[in-house]
């Protein structure tokens, strides 16, 4: 049976306290909240730290609320709490639905959105989705001012984020959606983590697509906006999408930069990316103006 290597656990109650610990313990320390990524790596011997810092007692990292015209989600909020949040379900239904598809029920109960993004696994639903809804993060060292950055600047590469020493991801935020915006997230999954993820934000003006933001992830090392495909889709009539996708599909596949791995070859993934992107655009179109049927939880 698999046990974790011995460690000392620290439970600070502020970002200041976390930064002090990280400064004094250096490379011997790691932070955790849900443990859904860290403890798996620890079991396999990939991440053994003598000091483990629990972030669950840090109040500043919690909360889901509207703030400054955006939805702010504390970094240690779990996937489950986001999926269940009434305001998220009403006003950002695609976010709630995307979260409902992360991992499994137990992973969502423990796993946090901040942990998911910091771990920067290339196969991430939130990292793909947030690119289409103006996702930003806020980070802070205990002794410093908050820094805000776009999600695309935060996730630098596979398993690599832009945090500096002693700095914590404190919150994630997304923009308000226009009343006539449609947003959707889709994934193609063969094992436990998604093989292809795609998300889309769009509006329709006079029968044509507008404000298209299309993101693709999980196929390559990092999620990305498919900007060239967006350029073709913007202004295209919704009855003309079959033709437009003959070009837009391969452009989205270019943006995904697929790599060959256990999920399939580059050629196979390029094909699936185009298919999933078409589906997610269609779903975003049908999401426009849909009443969100929120049953009480």
């Amino acid at each position: 049976m698999t046990r974790l290597a011995a460690f000392e656990r620290h439970c600070p109650d502020s970002v200041e306290g976390v930064t002090e610990l990280l400064d004094s313990l250096g490379d011997e320390a790691i932070v955790y909240a849900g443990g859904t990524e860290l403890f798996l790596l620890s079991k396999f011997g990939f991440a053994e730290y003598p000091h483990v810092i629990d972030l669950k007692g840090v109040e500043e990292l919690r909360g889901i609320e509207r703030s400054g015209g955006r939805l702010r989600i504390g970094a240690t909020e779990t996937h489950r709490s986001i999926e269940r949040h009434p305001e998220v379900r009403r006003d950002w239904p695609a976010l709630a639905s995307m979260e409902r598809g992360v991992g499994n029920l137990r992973v969502r109960t423990m796993g946090t959105i901040g942990g998911n993004l910091c771990f920067a696994d290339p196969h991430s639903d939130p990292a793909t989705f947030l690119l289409t809804v103006d996702g930003e993060i806020e980070a802070r060292r205990g002794d410093g001012d908050p820094r805000r950055m776009k999600l695309e600047d935060f996730i630098v590469g596979p398993y690599e984020n832009a945090l500096e020493d002693g700095e914590l991801l404190t919150s994630i935020s997304v923009g308000e959606l226009a009343p006539d915006a449609g947003v959707a997230h889709q994934k193609f999954i063969l094992t436990e983590r998604p093989a292809i993820t795609a998300a889309c934000h769009l509006r329709i003006e006079d029968g044509s697509l507008a404000d298209v933001r299309l993101a693709v992830g999980s196929a390559g090392v990092r999620a990305a906006r498919a900007e060239a495909a967006e350029g073709l889709l913007n202004g295209s009539g919704i009855s003309d999408l079959d033709r437009v996708f003959e070009e837009a599909g391969p452009l989205a596949a270019d943006a995904a930069e697929p790599v060959e791995d256990a999920n399939g070859s580059v050629e196979y993934k390029r094909h699936v990316v185009a298919v999933v992107c078409r589906r997610v655009v269609d779903e975003a179109i049908s999401a426009i103006g849909q009443e969100n049927d929120i049953r009480p939880l």
């Binding site: 656990r9 443990g35 859904t36 403890f39 423990m110």
Partner: protein
């Protein structure tokens, strides 16, 4: 390295255990408290056989620090099986032959209980989404979904936890 005193309620009984910080809840339950209903299998939060409820929410005890259960209420299949509510779950699983070897069954029953208590067991879709992370290598799932359908509580129906079957499982 560092031992911690953890106070928790297990199946309604207050317990105090002194454990290393890195000890996993599954080991505490099985080896210190003699509760072997939660099983170790995949060990990576994928299969669901180690599922227990912590403060009514399902977790993989194979990857959950015992320290993180300090002050919490833990429910295992041993505790659930002694409640009146359990009889309905047992009966529906027997009627549908929704288990063979039984290794996954504890985790599935606890997952269904947590969903139902939260008002999130309202449809076949809820069952399929909720049990997505519980692997069964015997049944092929059909009988499990059918058994769970008998446990569905429709919104606005009777009070939570008492059960209003909307299907006899033949659907």
């Amino acid at each position: 390295m560092s031992e911690t005193t953890v106070q928790l309620s297990v199946n309604g009984t207050p317990r105090e255990v002194v454990v290393p910080a890195e000890e996993l809840l599954l080991d505490t339950l099985r080896e210190r408290l003699g509760l072997t209903g939660a099983k170790r299998s995949c060990d990576v939060q994928v299969c669901g056989t180690c599922t227990v409820l912590v403060d009514s929410e399902p977790v993989s005890s194979c990857t959950f620090l015992t320290c993180d259960a300090d002050g919490s209420e833990v429910l295992t299949i041993e505790g659930f099986s002694e409640t009146p509510e359990f009889e309905e779950f047992r009966q529906s699983f027997i009627e549908q032959a929704a288990l063979q070897c039984g290794f996954c069954t504890s985790g599935i029953l606890l997952t269904l209980k947590s969903l139902r208590d939260a008002g999130e067991l309202t449809s076949r879709e809820d069952i399929i989404a909720g049990l997505d992370g519980n692997i069964c290598r015997c049944t092929g799932y059909k009988s499990i979904v059918q058994a769970a359908e008998a446990l569905i509580v429709v919104p606005g129906g009777s009070s939570r936890g008492t059960g209003t079957p909307v299907s006899n499982g033949d659907s």
